[in-house]
Structure formats: structure tokens, C-alpha cells
């Protein structure tokens, strides 16, 4: 299967539209026009980084390259140089201007052949009919412990498995998503929208209210985002602009408060929260308006997704699972039974499993993962620090924020004033080395931290 082939399988071109922040593309025009033109053939069989900043440019490239290239790597705008090395890329697509030589994207793709794409300019004539030659690998990035991203390998079949077996909706849908489509949650919506209608893409440069206004103008019927996206939307005061039939949350724990707030804001809509991860794919969707999920989903016979809870964490096995990690020293993705451990900890309460955090202490700040170890490494580099523990603190805005407990080397700071000085230095070091969401919001100096029998720091559930 390939994407363009699937979209035109009925013999007629797709009827939907892609709405970018600055331009709009009718999918049907892609039958005879292209954002790449004749250069599309030059990419056949190669490994291509799709590194356009603009989501519409990236969206067009994904549609055009599937079935043509051997592998495509979906780079969100902030991708790291390590991606190039591990992905084996030999070309990249960018929408950065010629004057953008100094930006991080240009460094990351040094030595590769670059092609400029743009959705703003008119599409070029395609010349030839679209033709499939490869089962294209789709590579998604996810954050890793060391700060270097992990490369997660999918296929079009695995990415569409959650909805390809379902009956098509009776009429065209207009999807909107706050997500970036280069992230798993956004990519799911992108593909659903291509198969079933249209999509309003978000833009990092646009306010929440402006995005909702565009979504409203396009007649959005289905809209998705993380709980943090939705809290932000509620704070914008602009949710009344849209009247969707379906409101979806994923990517973070959906607590009862945000579900109730959305129910209140969109009384006519189905409010659903879905569980999915880049590695494990889509697990399930809950539509009863309650946080967590019914215990009956676990071990249900004959389900498309096998759901299991072992050792307190949620495990999934399905056709939506990724096929593996890419790169040297890649860890194993699945256990011997073919299950993927999502690392999400659940607890059974009154017949429902509720999410209580992540194993290993991984912290989810507004949909962005923070590995405590990478923050602790920066803190521990301070000469006055013996050991530190980074953990989550619950937040009604971003789900969680990062805090740190620090044990100082004896004599490193005596007195409250000296301790404040050390805390300030640690925070400065963190701000220099880490993205803003990884910097601890507070540092507490403690006399000791609990170490387990195996000699490891005892980490609470994040």
C-alpha cells in the first residue's frame, strides 16, 4: 500500500483540502502537480529528511514521497544533528531561505543534498503519473534519556492500522489539530484527515485564537490536541468560535478536570481521550467522559489491540506497533511476547484503570518528555553537588512541571545565604544547557536521598 494510491483507490481524486496558515491546497490538484516537480524522481529510492518548518510544506512532501523514497524521516523544526547520522539520510527537504545558512537546520544537514520546497509558491507540473516503487519507511523522532532523539520506525500500514479497518465516515470530515504533524499524535490526525476529508494545520507562529478562527472558517468537525493544548485553548477564550462534533485528547494524561471543562465548553460534542505512543501506536479511545479506561479493555479477546497490564505498566501489541528503532545500539522495542511496554503506569480503582505517571520517572511537561537523568547530569556537574533527584510536580496547566532535590557535598554551602547562591548557580547551569521545560521550577536542598538495595536512587512515579 502507498499513500497516494490509497487516496485515489476509488478511481477519483481525493476531495479534501489541506489548510495551512498561509495557503490552502486542494488534494485533487496533486494528481497533476507537485511541490517537488521533476525533482521527485531524483529522490526515488533514497533516504530523505523532511525538515521543512512549515507544516503544509512538510505535509505535501509526506504525501508525495510515500511509495517513492526508501525511507523518510519526519523532522520537527527542532531536530538534532544526531538524526542525520542514525537515519542514513542522503538528502533533505527544507523550506528555509538561502539566507538561513546560520540556523540549526542547516548545520544538521551539512554534507547532504538539499532540495527546497515550499507550499506558498504555486505547485509545479508533475510531468509523470505518480508511481509506487518502494514500501517507504516512516521514521518518527522521540526524545531519549541522553537528550539524543530515538528514531522510531513505522510503515504506512502501521500508522493507519487504528482506522483503516473501520468503516469510513458517511460524509467528509474537517479535522483540525493543535499538534505538529511530525509528532505521532499529529501524524495520526493528518492521515485520518487525508483518508476521510480535510485538515486544518496549526502553525507555531500563530496564536491559539487565530488558529481556532481558521478552523472555524474551514468548518472544523473534529479537532485534536493534548490536554495542555486544550487548557491553552480554554484560556484563549476563543473556543466558542468552533462547534465541533468530536473533541479528542491524547499525548498526556487526561484528568477529570480537563474532560469536564471540555464537556462544558462543547456540550454538543463527543469528548474522547485516546491513548497512543510513538512506539506502541494507538491503544484505545475512551468516550464515556471519565478519566482512565474501563478495566474490561485489558485482555479483551479478539480485540484489534491487545492491552495488558504487567508490573503496573500498560503494554500494547497490535498492527499499530512500530517495527523497531533505527540506529546503532538501538534498544529492543518489544518483549518476547511481542508486547511494547509503554512505560505508562496505571492503577486499578473501582473497575477502571487510571494513569498515575510514567515508570522510570519520565516527566511529561505539556506533551514534551523530560528524562530526569539528563537534568540530574547538569545539576550533578556543579562542584558543590553530591547527588540530585529530579521529579515531577503536578500542574493544572502543563500536566507536570520539573522540580529537583539536591544533596550538597559537606561544607559546600553553610547557611541559608550560601545555599541560595548554590541554587542560583545550579539553575543558571540548567538554563544554559537545557530547554526551558526541562529546567527545574524549584530546587530543594535535602540532607539525603533514598537509595534502594540495588544502589539506585528511589524514583517516585512521575
Amino acid at each position: 500500500m502507498w499513500l497516494w494510491g490509497s487516496l485515489t483507490a476509488s478511481g477519483t481524486p481525493p476531495s479534501g483540502c489541506l489548510y495551512g496558515a498561509g495557503a490552502r491546497i486542494e488534494l485533487a490538484t496533486l494528481a497533476g502537480a507537485s511541490s517537488l516537480g521533476a525533482r521527485l524522481e531524483a529522490l526515488r529510492g533514497r533516504t530523505v529528511l523532511v525538515a521543512a518548518r512549515d507544516q503544509l510544506s512538510a505535509a505535501l512532501a509526506l504525501i508525495e514521497l510515500d511509495g517513492v523514497v526508501r525511507r523518510m524521516v519526519l523532522c520537527p523544526p527542532d531536530h538534532a544533528p544526531a538524526v542525520v547520522r542514525d537515519s542514513g539520510a542522503d538528502a533533505y527537504l527544507t523550506d528555509a531561505g538561502a539566507d538561513a545558512g546560520a540556523d540549526a537546520g542547516a548545520t544538521a544537514v551539512r554534507g547532504l543534498e538539499g532540495l527546497h520546497v515550499s507550499s506558498a509558491a504555486a505547485l509545479r507540473p508533475l510531468g509523470l503519473a505518480r508511481r509506487r516503487s518502494h514500501d517507504t519507511e516512516w521514521i518518527l523522532l522521540t526524545s531519549g534519556t541522553s537528550g539524543a532523539p530515538k528514531l522510531v520506525q513505522h510503515t504506512l500500514a502501521s500508522l493507519t492500522s487504528a482506522f483503516s479497518a473501520q468503516e469510513a465516515p458517511p460524509g467528509p470530515l474537517v479535522w483540525g489539530t493543535f499538534y505538529d504533524i511530525r509528532r505521532y499524535g499529529g501524524l495520526q490526525i493528518f492521515l485520518r484527515a487525508l483518508y476521510h476529508g480535510s485538515l486544518v494545520l496549526s502553525s507555531a507562529a500563530e496564536s491559539t485564537a487565530d488558529f481556532l478562527a481558521r478552523a472555524a472558517a474551514a468548518g472544523v468537525t473534529h479537532i485534536s490536541g493534548t490536554p495542555s493544548h486544550w487548557r491553552r485553548a480554554l484560556m484563549s477564550g476563543a473556543t466558542a468560535r468552533i462547534s465541533p462534533r468530536y473533541v479528542r485528547l491524547s499525548g498526556e494524561i487526561a484528568d477529570q478536570a480537563i474532560l469536564d471543562s471540555l464537556r462544558h465548553a462543547f456540550p454538543q460534542a463527543t469528548v474522547a481521550h485516546a491513548f497512543a505512543s510513538t512506539e506502541a501506536g494507538v491503544g484505545f479511545e475512551v468516550r464515556d467522559g471519565l478519566a482512565g479506561f474501563p478495566a474490561g479493555l485489558v485482555g479483551a479477546p479478539g480485540a484489534a489491540v491487545d492491552i495488558d497490564v504487567a508490573g503496573g505498566t500498560l503494554r500494547l501489541r497490535s498492527a499499530g506497533n512500530a517495527t523497531g528503532y533505527l540506529g546503532a545500539h538501538a534498544p529492543a522495542l518489544k518483549d518476547s511476547d511481542g508486547f511494547i511496554d509503554t512505560g505508562d503506569r496505571v492503577e486499578l480503582r473501582d473497575g477502571r484503570y487510571v494513569f498515575i505517571g510514567r515508570s522510570g520517572g519520565v516527566i511529561n511537561v505539556g506533551g514534551l518528555k523530560v528524562y530526569p537523568e539528563e537534568v540530574e547530569a547538569i545539576i550533578n556537574a556543579h562542584p558543590g553537588v553530591r547527588i540530585s533527584l529530579v521529579k515531577a510536580r503536578r500542574s493544572p496547566i502543563t500536566g507536570a512541571v520539573v522540580t529537583a532535590e539536591v544533596v550538597l557535598i559537606e561544607g559546600a554551602a553553610t547557611g541559608a545565604q550560601a545555599e541560595e547562591l548554590v541554587k542560583g548557580e545550579i539553575l543558571q547551569a540548567c538554563r544554559r544547557a537545557l530547554a526551558a521545560h526541562k529546567v527545574p521550577m524549584s530546587i530543594r536542598i535535602v540532607p539525603a536521598l533514598e537509595v534502594s538495595g540495588s544502589g539506585k536512587l528511589v524514583r517516585p512515579d512521575a
Binding site: 491559539t208 477564550g237 496547566i397
Partner: protein, 79 residues
């Protein structure tokens, strides 16, 4: 310090830390037009909980849209 003064000083402090340009804090200022991002609000709410001892978002029926809504949310909880 009054609840309002505590909130105002925290908005200013977090804006400085996050190197964001804060708009003048009037009651009708839309929070999302204040110059702060979600992370900044998360930090403000966490520090307010430390200072005031409560998190009114737990029981709030609707999210504050303006700075005035935000202050009222905390003031009504403190009474």
C-alpha cells in the same frame, strides 16, 4: 501582601526568568496576549500554590481568560 500583589509580582518574576516581555497587567489583558507561554503559567500556578497554600484550578469550573479572571479565581478561593 495581597493576593493580587503576590500574583502580579510572580507574573513579573517568571517573565524575567523566562526572558519574556510581559504586557502591562490590566484586568482586561487576555492571558494569552500577556507575553507568557504555557510553561510560564505552569510555573506561576505552582509557585502560587507554594505561597498561598492552594490551587484553585482543582475545582475551577472554567479556565481564566483575562488577568482579572485569574486574580478573581485566586481571590474567591482565599475567602
Amino acid at each position: 501582601m495581597s493576593v493580587r500583589a503576590t500574583i502580579t509580582s510572580l507574573f513579573e518574576q517568571v517573565a524575567r526568568e523566562q526572558q519574556r516581555k510581559l504586557s502591562p497587567l490590566s484586568d482586561d489583558l487576555k492571558l494569552l496576549a500577556s507575553g507568557l507561554d504555557s510553561l510560564s503559567f505552569a510555573l506561576i500556578v505552582a509557585r502560587l500554590e507554594d505561597k498561598l497554600g492552594y490551587d484553585p484550578f482543582d475545582t475551577a469550573e472554567s479556565f481564566p481568560v483575562t488577568f482579572g479572571d485569574f486574580v478573581r479565581l485566586y481571590e474567591s478561593h482565599s475567602r
